[in-house]
Structure formats: structure tokens, C-alpha cells
């Protein structure tokens, strides 16, 4: 399989899935234009343009999933899940538990997420921690085209609801659509290895709950997802020159979380830095500390996260997001003792 952009890998996984499984339908605002190749190939019965009615079309997708279809629902941005939160929180996520495990809804919500292109705090949130806190949901956050393809493939075959996070900064199609708009006068800090990459042939699936060790190291564990993984790798390369050897974990899915890999790494290094583009309080970073404590580990712990509502101004946004500078500073502090 060729080199692909992150967005192409997601699209291709859905297209391949739709060929394999005729119960997969694609629902979302503007999908006939945004997913023109799929619309042209599968027609209006399987690629459905939705009105701007997130509460209705996410709720309807849940009902359709209960009744035998496998909908892939696109949100323009995960921020807009707020409009459809009742369907997600009170219905999709509850079905399996409420039915005593007898009924599950195979639904994938494709949710572009994250910031870095100056769209303000209502269009750049990550929110994966909030969503992953809800029992009954699976939440995956790939960081490479290969994982995007592989996790979407697993999601399409999964019998329960999956939130699939697509980082806009990794997805050049979204960046072009929402950030660049044909201009060559703006630049974005895009991690090259996340935006483009080889997708292994033959088509593969990546299991849920399986973290990837992106860099082995002995002094400190950095755990992250999506863009944060690439920022952590850049920081680790810099720290290497200072004699600090970082291990970088790409968690890939938040729910289920690969506690075993995290614990094994932290046991080795004794230090954990959580790097998270989501909000700092009550989210992934705190969860990582908690699972280590529960595993009987008490590492030196730090976190580099989004601490407040994301500001619009580019220079403020850059520092509000986890970047290599912030990670390097946090690592130095953790290894200083």
C-alpha cells in the first residue's frame, strides 16, 4: 500500500470497509462534497447528506445502528459533539449496559479534533478525555496514517460505539479546508511523520487498547496521543543531546487504555510525563497518574496539557498547546531530582 496522508488513510479505510460491508453507511453534513469519491462510488443511499442537526443525525445513527446498519457519522469537529451529547452520553453509551449486554450499537463517530491553526476555542478542543470518561464508549486517537487506517478498520468491524478522533493538524485535508483555504501566506507546525506515512499492505487492523512504544528509553516515560506523540518525540530527540533518555508511548486508544504497557514502562523509568492536548484537569493526564498508583507504582509525575480555554491568537495558542519546548522543560524538571 502506498504512502498516504492521514486523511486519505481514514477515507481509504472507510471506503474499503464500505466495499466489504454493505451495512456501512456514511452520514454527515456536506459528506457528498467532503467525501466526493465515496459519494460517487456508493451513491446517495449510502452517503447521506445531513442537515445541520447534530442531535438528530447522531441520534438517528444510533437508532440505525441498533436496527442493523453500521453508520459512520461525521462531525465537522468534536466540539460540536456537545450539540449531540444526549445521543452519545445517554443513549449510544448506555445501550449495552441497559440491555444486559444483549444489544450493542455498531456506530463510529469520526470527529476531527484539536487545534494549531488558529480557529479559536470553540473549534480546536480535543475532548477525548471527557468522552473517554463515559463507560460504554471506545475512544481511539491515532497519530499516524498507518494507525488511522488500522484503527478505523477495527472500529468499522467493532460491535459497539467508537469515537474516532482525527487530529486536524495531522490531516492536511482539514488543514487546507479550515486553515489554509488556498493561501500560501500561513504556516502550521505540522508533524511530518504524522501527516504522511506508509500504510502497510495488505490492509491491516490495529487492535483497541494497544499502545505503541515509539521510542525506547530508560530515564523517563512520556505518554501521549495524536500530535502530542510527535511533539514528545521531537522533545526526546533534543533531550538525548543532554543525556536524558526518554521513552515515548503512543497510547492510540484511551478507552480501553493499555495500562499494562504504561505500567511496564513506568516501572522501568520511574518517571512519567503525561502530554495531552486535552484539558489538564479531570482527564487523561490524571488518569495516567491514577493507573500507575493503582499498579503500585509511584513515579515522579508531571504533565503538559491544555490548561485553559484555547486562545485564538496564534502565538498564545502555540504556547497553550503542548509543544516541544514545554515538554523539554517539564522533563528537565522531572529528571532534576
Amino acid at each position: 500500500m502506498p504512502e498516504m496522508s492521514f486523511g486519505q488513510a481514514v477515507d481509504r479505510a472507510i471506503e474499503d470497509g464500505m466495499v466489504r460491508d454493505e451495512t456501512i453507511v456514511l452520514i454527515g453534513e456536506d459528506v457528498p462534497m467532503l467525501r466526493a469519491p465515496l459519494f460517487a462510488r456508493f451513491g446517495a443511499d449510502r452517503v447521506l447528506a445531513a442537515p445541520i442537526s447534530e442531535a438528530a443525525f447522531v441520534g438517528a445513527a444510533a437508532g440505525a445502528a441498533m436496527a442493523g446498519l453500521r453508520p459512520v457519522v461525521e462531525l465537522y469537529m468534536v466540539d460540536f459533539v456537545a450539540v449531540a451529547l444526549d445521543a452519545v452520553l445517554n443513549h449510544i453509551a448506555k445501550l449495552e449496559a441497559f440491555s444486559g449486554g444483549k444489544w450493542r450499537a455498531p456506530l463510529v463517530i469520526r470527529a476531527p479534533s484539536g487545534a494549531g491553526y488558529g480557529d479559536g476555542g470553540q473549534h480546536g478542543q480535543a475532548l477525548w478525555g471527557s468522552l473517554a470518561s463515559i463507560p460504554g464508549l471506545t475512544v481511539v486517537v491515532p497519530s499516524t496514517p498507518a494507525d488511522a487506517y488500522g484503527l478505523m478498520t477495527t472500529a468499522l468491524a467493532h460491535d459497539g460505539p467508537v469515537i474516532f478522533m482525527e487530529s486536524k493538524l495531522l490531516s492536511e485535508e482539514w488543514l487546507e479546508f479550515l486553515g489554509r483555504g488556498g493561501r500560501d501566506t500561513v504556516t502550521f507546525a505540522v508533524p511530518a511523520d504524522g501527516a504522511h506515512g506508509m500504510v502497510p499492505a495488505p490492509p491491516h487492523a490495529v487492535p483497541f487498547g494497544s499502545a505503541a512504544v515509539r521510542r525506547e528509553g530508560s530515564d523517563l516515560t512520556i505518554a501521549s496521543v495524536a500530535v502530542g506523540v510527535h511533539r514528545a518525540l521531537a522533545a526526546a530527540a533534543r533531550l538525548d543531546g543532554e543525556g536524558v533518555d526518554c521513552e515515548v508511548l503512543d497510547l492510540r486508544s484511551l478507552r480501553p487504555l493499555d495500562v499494562e504497557t504504561v505500567a511496564a514502562s513506568v516501572q522501568k523509568t520511574g518517571r512519567l510525563l503525561a502530554v495531552d492536548e486535552d484539558y489538564r484537569e479531570f482527564g487523561l493526564s490524571g488518569e495516567l497518574a491514577a493507573v500507575c498508583l493503582e499498579a503500585g507504582l509511584s513515579p515522579r509525575f508531571g504533565r503538559v496539557c491544555v490548561e485553559d480555554t484555547l486562545p485564538y491568537a496564534r502565538h498564545l495558542e502555540r504556547n497553550a498547546l503542548p509543544n516541544a519546548d514545554r515538554i523539554v522543560a517539564a522533563v528537565r524538571e522531572l529528571v532534576s531530582v
Binding site: 471506503e15 453534513e29 457528498p32 467532503l34 460540536f80 450539540v83 479550515l178 486553515g179 502565538h315
Partner: protein
């Protein structure tokens, strides 16, 4: 009705947005930028009738109404530039502009202006009797649950509210009629709300229709819904790929067309009629985008109001010169000390 005043406000809104477009093109404004070009007659016809204390809840396409409302231009421009001395300290950005002293708020969440304006109306009825609230919204937003719920709430509570629904025929890249059931005016009436449609290109017609609704609201006679049709001159946002493709199909559409053709000819998938249907529908959307009204063309409300001002030619020229000077001065002040390419 003071036509020269309305003319001035429309030209101010247009000139402001053309300046914003220039800044966006130069990369000085980040992210999405939704212009309200084509909506000036609606903004001027309605917003010039607001008074101190009246509330205004707006969408991501908020510039014309804010300019007409008299929100200072330099802080607005500085906000778009992400400056510390911007209207919101550089924290909000163009979809999230707030002016507490004007009781004016915007949101990037489609449909959100309706419940916010209903709340402004509720507070005004209690705290500032006679004051009202206006929500601007797009036709696409009228399919949001929160918008429909607000129609009911406003009637049930008899709120001093005017909902101005701008119908430019599009919901982002989708034609509105393909995802909307029935007529929006009938829909509002179905909730028991007074509703009418007006030609949103004609500032005098908008002014007249809004005057009636606003006067009723001030007298405690309840809410109204005004559907104003107008063109979308610059796509959903600047750089809209649909507009770029429709206007320059070869240069802009090559990659998209390539992947569409490769998918449509792949084995597996829909039958011939599904594929043909999909392609036909896409072509018709592109054709509609290509046919759309253009700036300074016949469908542009600025062209219409310019013509309507023919009898006041000297005044028209004076206003044009004053507006140009005002906007140029605001832009110069806003750009003082700003370097190109803030990301470099």
C-alpha cells in the same frame, strides 16, 4: 426611513469586510473567516433600528451586524489579528466576538444565537422594559434542535424577540433545500410565531418589515420571525473550495476530480444508477455555485442600494468618500506595528 444612513451602513460593512479579506489573504488572520458579503441590506435594515439596551446574538458570519451596531472597528480588527488590545484580548477570534456594552455576542456553534437572544430578551423584559433582542441566524441553522426549541420558547414566554433568518440558499457546501423540509416561514408560523419573508437584497423592504416586528416586540406583543433571502457572495468562508473549484475547475479541481473518478470506476460499491446519481448531484451543486451572484453584479445588494441612491448622487459620493476614509484609517491604525507572516 433614512436611506442615506442605510446606504452608509451597508457600505461600511462591505468596506470593512473587504479589508478583512485582504488581511486574511496576507495570512494576518488565522483559521476560518466567514464574510457576510451579500447580507449588508439585512444587517443595515435591522440593526440600525436597535437602541441602547437592545441585545444582539450573532453567528460566525457576524461582521456586518457588528459594524452597523457601532462596535468600534479598530478593536474588532485588532481582535482578528490576535492582538492583546483586540476587542476580546486576542482570545476570542472572529467567530467569538463579544461586546458587553452593546449586549452583543457571537458563536461558532450553528443555531446557538437563538437561545442566547431569547435570554437577552427575557432579561430585557425584566430589567429594561421596552428593550428587545435580535437573533441573526442562517437558514441552515433552522434545522438545529436548539433553534426550533427557541421558536417555541419565545412564543410560550411571549418574548420581545426578533429572529432574523438569512437564507442564502446554502448550508456550507450543501444546498439548503436538499436538507430542509417545508418552508421556514410556515415552520415559524406552526409555532404560533408571527413570520414573514422579505427580499434581503432590498434594504428598504428589510427596514420596513423589521420596523413592524421590532415595534410589536417593544410593546410586549411577542416575537417575530423574518426570513430574508440574499446572495452568498463569497462562499461559506474565504478560500471555500467549492467556490474555487466552481470558478477554476481545472486548476483547483484536478486532484478532487482524479480521486472521484478513480473511486467511481472502482470495482465494488453502488450500482450504475447509484454512481450516476451521485455524480449528477455533485455536478448540479457545482453548477449552482458557479451561477451564484457575484460582488458588484446585479444580485449584489450594494449594487441595488447604490442605484436606489441615484437621486442623492452628491450625498452618495460624499458617503462613499467618508466610508473609504473611515475604513482606511481603521485599517491603518489596526495594522500599525503588525508584521506580515506572524508564524514566521
Amino acid at each position: 426611513m433614512d436611506l442615506p444612513h442605510l446606504y452608509r451602513q451597508m457600505q461600511r460593512a462591505r468596506a470593512y469586510e473587504l479589508a478583512v479579506e485582504e488581511m486574511w489573504n496576507h495570512g494576518l488572520i488565522s483559521g476560518e473567516m466567514h464574510l457576510g458579503t451579500g447580507e449588508e441590506a439585512v444587517a443595515a435594515g435591522v440593526v440600525t433600528q436597535l437602541e441602547d439596551g437592545d441585545g444582539l446574538a450573532l453567528t460566525h458570519r457576524c461582521s456586518p451586524a457588528l459594524v452597523v451596531r457601532g462596535v468600534p472597528l479598530v478593536p474588532m480588527l485588532r481582535e482578528l489579528l490576535g492582538a492583546e488590545d483586540g476587542l476580546c484580548g486576542g482570545r476570542g477570534g472572529h467567530m467569538h466576538l463579544f461586546s458587553k456594552e452593546h449586549l452583543a455576542a457571537t458563536s461558532g456553534i450553528v443555531g446557538a444565537s437563538l437561545p442566547t437572544a431569547a435570554g437577552f430578551a427575557l432579561a430585557n423584559r425584566r430589567l429594561r422594559p421596552g428593550a428587545i433582542a435580535v437573533a441573526f441566524t442562517g437558514a441552515g441553522a433552522m434545522n438545529q434542535g436548539m433553534a426550533l426549541e427557541t421558536l417555541n420558547l419565545a412564543v410560550a414566554w411571549r418574548l420581545p424577540l426578533l429572529i432574523v433568518c438569512i437564507d442564502n440558499g446554502w448550508a456550507i457546501t450543501t444546498t439548503s433545500d436538499s436538507v430542509t423540509g417545508g418552508s421556514l416561514v410556515e415552520r415559524a408560523r406552526g409555532f404560533g410565531m408571527r413570520a414573514e419573508e422579505v427580499n434581503g437584497r432590498d434594504v428598504r423592504a428589510v427596514h420596513k418589515a423589521a420596523a413592524k416586528s421590532i415595534e410589536r416586540a417593544r410593546r410586549g406583543k411577542g416575537p417575530s420571525f423574518l426570513l430574508a433571502t440574499c446572495p452568498r457572495l463569497d462562499g461559506h468562508f474565504l478560500g471555500d473550495p467549492l467556490i474555487r473549484m466552481a470558478k477554476r475547475p481545472i486548476a483547483e479541481g484536478k486532484a478532487v476530480l482524479g480521486s472521484v473518478l478513480s473511486s467511481v470506476t472502482s470495482r465494488g460499491g453502488g450500482g450504475l444508477s447509484d454512481r450516476a446519481g451521485g455524480m449528477t448531484q455533485m455536478m448540479s451543486v457545482m453548477a449552482k455555485a458557479r451561477r451564484g451572484a457575484t460582488r458588484d453584479g446585479r444580485g449584489d445588494p450594494i449594487t441595488a442600494v447604490h442605484k436606489a441612491m441615484k437621486k442623492h448622487e452628491a450625498e452618495r459620493d460624499r458617503i462613499d468618500a467618508e466610508v473609504t476614509a473611515e475604513i482606511e484609517a481603521a485599517v491603518a491604525e489596526a495594522l500599525a506595528g503588525v508584521e506580515e507572516d506572524p508564524d514566521a
